[in-house]
């Protein structure tokens, strides 16, 4: 959600209504609420400006804004108080959200973990793994960190590398490890939705397109945590 606010003169409801009537958008007898009157400013060619400048006054700007936002499947709302100012609220769907992500590989595939929750990455020392005797926990500098091996979770079966890496994330104040093959690095991730077909996969929150066109899947660490929680036994 994006809010844009000013402390200007506010929208002049009377002028807008008058202009709308002149243009035939609204009949003499129509009674419009304030919100509906504000919406009129988005009509194509609509402007209450007395003079036209190089950047305004033609009734084009707001029309373009509304069309673009509609195309992005968002919404735009205007609120105004005379003498106080105007507030414009844009709501854009998650498909346009950008998050900072951590790009990792599991097998041949790329995945993204939201960087916000990531605290550190460690190499999984095979000796330490041995010591855990089959339980999914690792000793990291004296602390026991439970982990989920994403390879197993997703059933990815191609040959694992000898040295795996663990991304330790803070999820709801718990330190949980996510084991991947390799950590590539930070990645500005534009989230694309996967669509209705994949709506039942709750631990993958979307996808992103990498620089070379490859699709990487974005993991939802909160949902993954819930799954780890259920499987931890000390």
């Amino acid at each position: 959600m994006i809010t844009i606010q000013d402390d200007g003169a506010g929208l002049n409801v009377e002028n807008i209504l008058k202009k709308a009537r002149e243009k035939g958008l609204v009949s003499e007898n129509d009674d419009l609420s304030e919100k509906e009157i504000f919406k009129l400013i988005f009509a194509p060619g609509f402007s209450t400006a007395q003079t036209v400048t190089s950047v305004s006054g033609r009734g084009v700007g707001m029309d373009v804004v509304k069309r673009t936002i509609d195309m992005l499947r968002g919404t735009i709302e205007v609120d105004s108080q005379p003498g106080k100012g105007t507030i414009i609220t844009l709501k854009l769907p998650l498909t346009l959200a950008i998050i900072n992500g951590l790009l990792v590989t599991i097998g041949q595939d790329f995945f993204v973990l939201p960087l916000m929750s990531v605290q550190e990455c460690v190499e999984m020392d095979p000796k330490e793994k041995e010591k855990a005797k089959g339980r999914n926990i690792l000793n990291v500098r004296g602390e026991i960190v439970p982990y989920i091996r994403l390879r197993d979770h997703f059933g990815i079966n191609d040959i694992a590398s000898d040295l795996e890496h663990m991304v330790i994330a803070d999820v709801h104040s718990k330190r949980i490890g996510f084991v991947v093959d390799n950590v590539i690095g930070g990645h500005q991730t534009v989230i694309k939705t996967l669509g209705p077909i994949f709506r039942n996969i709750n631990d993958i929150s979307g996808a992103t397109i990498l620089g070379d066109g490859t699709v990487a899947l974005i993991l939802d660490t909160n949902v993954l945590l819930e799954k780890v929680d259920q499987s931890i036994n000390y």
Partner: protein, 168 residues
Amino acid sequence: MSVPGITQTSQYLTFILDQEIYAMDITQVREVLDFTKITKVPRMPDFIKGVINLRGGVVPVVDLRLKFGMSQAQKTVDTCIIIIEINIQETQTLLGIMADSVQEVMSMEPDQIEPAPKIGTRLKTEFIKGMGKKNDEFIIILDSDKVFSTDELTIVQEVEKNTGAIQA
């Protein structure tokens, strides 16, 4: 004899799956792509191959051969992905279907199309809108609404749990 529901001459895109000719109404076809890299989405049924990058958007790809119980396709230079637009859960969604090759766009009149036979085809009869006949060949016209019913598409499969033993 013609099929109720097919009342006018329409154009169809024909394509090959395991040596048989199938067709879809052209109004649902958006474009045809060369085979591109598919990113696998884990724990989906086999016939959902994954997703592809279509000009910045993410589009799922389905292997109809697997869905219809045929053997998995061998990728050749002719293999393509047909992008169709269908209605899933009240929204228009893009979906890619893998085909061994794409043939042509052809018109068929209602009287060239017969109802689907009850036996003798590999697919469930409900997937077939009708059987077209052109130049001595049978063309199986698919009913995309039935073929892509949501329930089958959205099943998430559980991964078989390993014992948790350490990788050897």
